[in-house]
Structure formats: structure tokens, C-alpha cells
Amino acid sequence: MDLGPHAFFILAAYAATAAILAALILRAALDHRAQVRALAELEARGARRRSDVTPGAPAAAGWSG
């Protein structure tokens, strides 16, 4: 395909878009992995939410943080 005299601008636009989308996806994946790992480490050390350790406590209906 002949992109004509402005090929640089067309290809640069597609390359920049790909780079920004890739950065967004990579950031999301790395951030998720870091949080999963941190949560696993805390749970391995015995950290529990109050609703998990209080006998007879009702299950959290709203926020589960």
C-alpha cells in the first residue's frame, strides 16, 4: 500500500496509539499482579478481615475492603 508523501505521519499516529494502548494494558496487568501478590502475602501471614474472624458475624453486604 502506497501511503503517499505523508506516510511518516500516518505510521507515527498508529505507532503512538499502539504504544499508549500497550502501556495502559501493561500497567493494568502489572498493577493487578502486584495487588494479588500483596494480598497473598498478607493472607499467608494470617491477616484476616474482621468479618472473616468474628464468629457469627454476618457476611459483608456492601464494601468488602
Partner: protein
């Protein structure tokens, strides 16, 4: 203003009472149930692979249409292919700000924690699409207008949108407590939403170098179907990518808050043991 209930369970039931009182009925209670963070984690986890796959397929179809089906423009030549990135990115940059503004209302009015999470997860995605819009616009402007940048109303208002996104991202990082940060960010987001109609109508209100609306305008699109359909498919693909990233970001944010809660509880436990 009502105080935020200390017990998260009360917030959920308060939301259900509001839904019942406002006559939302079945749909409102279903939405409330879906917005429960634990339920959200379950359904979003199941939906994400399908959304990601659909986004990839649609992007492949959209790129094929943009490159091999859409003709070169009679005036702009091949540079019109930048439109298939620039226009969807602009729509999503505006759309994600609207999502943040709606979530800000959810935070300030209904005080739903998932609204906080939605706001925070939407900000980097909106900023990313605003940046794509600015960069592709500059690369389109240089061969067509002879300049990467001019201080016209449309370009400047989109730059302000990008700077708003940056300010919001910075504010999220400034305040440690997520609930307090969400309230501060909500106010800033709602103030910044004044910019949305300015961006949309800037090309009508002022003399600008930027062309007026060609798709979302009274009287229907002014673009030939051979270019309109690839544009709409690319917009759908970008939207699916953005929604997938948004759901993934919300899941990560919920995990981050769990990590924060467990870290605080662990610190409390260690303090008690030391005392």
C-alpha cells in the same frame, strides 16, 4: 449532609432503601446487587476474558476495514486513515470523563464505594485516550494544516481535558485515605465536567481551524458510509478495550483496598501484641 455510615453493611442497605424509595424496583435492586463489590468481582472476572477477546476481534476487523476497505479521501489522501484513531480516541476521552462525573455523583450522593473505585479506575484510561487524541491530532494537523499545534478552541479545550485527567490522577495519589480522596476527586471531577460541552460545541461557538462535527450532528453523519462504517467499528473496538481496562482496573482497585484494610488490621494486631 448525611455522615457516611461507619459500617459498610449499612451503606449497602441504605442504597437498597434509596432504590426502593425512588421506585427503581427490580432493575434498581439488581443494579445494587451487581454493584456489591464481592458480587462485582465474581461477574467481572467471568466477563473479562470474553470482553478482551471481543475487543481483539473487533480491533482486527476495524483495522482491516480502515486500511483495506476505506478509500483515500479526495482532499486529504491517505492521511484520512489517522481519523480512524483520532475520532474514537476523542469520543472515549470525553466518554470516560462522563463516566467519572457519573461515578462522582455516586460517591457524593449515594456514597457507594464502588463509585469511588469506578472513578479511580477510569482516570488513567481517559487520560490515555485523551493523549492518543492529542498526539494523533498533532500528527494529522501537520500535513493538513501545516502545524502540529494551534491554540484554537477545540485543541485547547481537549488539552485542558488531558490536564484535568492529570490533576485528578495526582489528587488520587495525594490523599492516602481512599474515601477522603474520592470525595475530593469527585468535587474536582464535577467542576471539570463544565469542559465537556465546551469541547463538544467549541467548533460551533468559535471560529476554529478544527472542522465541525461530522458524525454526531443534527441531520446525521456527513461522512460517506465507506468511511463511516470502519470508523464506527474502530470506535466500538476502542470502547470495548476501554471497558475491559475499566473493569480490570476496578477489580485491581478493590484488591488494593483489601490489601490496605488487611495491612491496617495486621498493624493493629502487632501493636496489641507488643503492648
Amino acid at each position: 449532609m448525611l455522615a457516611r455510615p461507619a459500617d459498610p453493611r449499612l451503606r449497602g442497605s441504605a442504597l437498597r432503601r434509596i432504590a426502593a424509595a425512588t421506585g427503581g424496583g427490580y432493575i434498581a435492586s439488581m443494579l445494587t446487587q451487581l454493584a456489591n463489590p464481592s458480587v462485582f468481582l465474581r461477574w467481572s472476572g467471568a466477563a473479562l476474558p470474553f470482553l478482551a477477546a471481543a475487543a481483539a476481534v473487533l480491533l482486527a476487523v476495524g483495522l482491516s476495514m480502515a486500511w483495506f476497505l476505506a478509500p483515500a479521501d479526495y482532499q486529504q489522501g491517505e492521511t484520512v486513515r489517522i481519523m480512524f484513531l483520532h475520532v474514537p480516541a476523542a469520543w472515549l476521552a470525553l466518554g470516560f470523563y462522563a463516566i467519572m462525573a457519573a461515578s462522582a455523583l455516586g460517591t457524593l450522593v449515594w456514597r457507594h464505594p464502588l463509585a469511588d473505585v469506578s472513578q479511580k479506575a477510569a482516570a488513567p484510561i481517559g487520560a490515555g485516550f485523551a493523549l492518543i487524541c492529542l498526539v494523533t491530532g498533532a500528527l494529522w494537523g501537520k500535513p493538513m494544516w501545516g502545524a502540529y499545534w494551534v491554540w484554537d478552541a477545540r485543541l485547547t479545550s481537549v488539552l485542558v481535558l488531558f490536564l484535568m485527567y492529570c490533576g485528578i490522577l495526582a489528587l488520587w495519589r495525594t490523599i492516602e485515605d481512599p474515601s477522603r480522596a474520592a470525595r475530593a476527586v469527585s468535587i474536582l471531577t464535577l467542576v471539570g465536567s463544565v469542559n465537556l460541552p465546551i469541547i463538544k460545541f467549541s467548533v460551533d461557538w468559535w471560529n476554529t481551524l478544527h472542522q465541525p462535527a461530522s458524525v454526531l450532528r443534527p441531520g446525521g453523519p456527513a461522512i460517506h458510509p465507506s468511511m463511516l462504517y470502519p470508523l464506527l467499528v474502530m470506535a466500538a473496538a476502542f470502547a470495548l478495550i476501554a471497558v475491559t481496562l475499566h473493569l480490570a482496573g476496578m477489580r485491581t482497585e478493590i484488591l488494593r483496598r483489601r490489601v490496605r484494610t488487611l495491612s491496617l488490621l495486621e498493624a493493629e494486631r502487632l501493636d496489641r501484641q507488643a503492648a
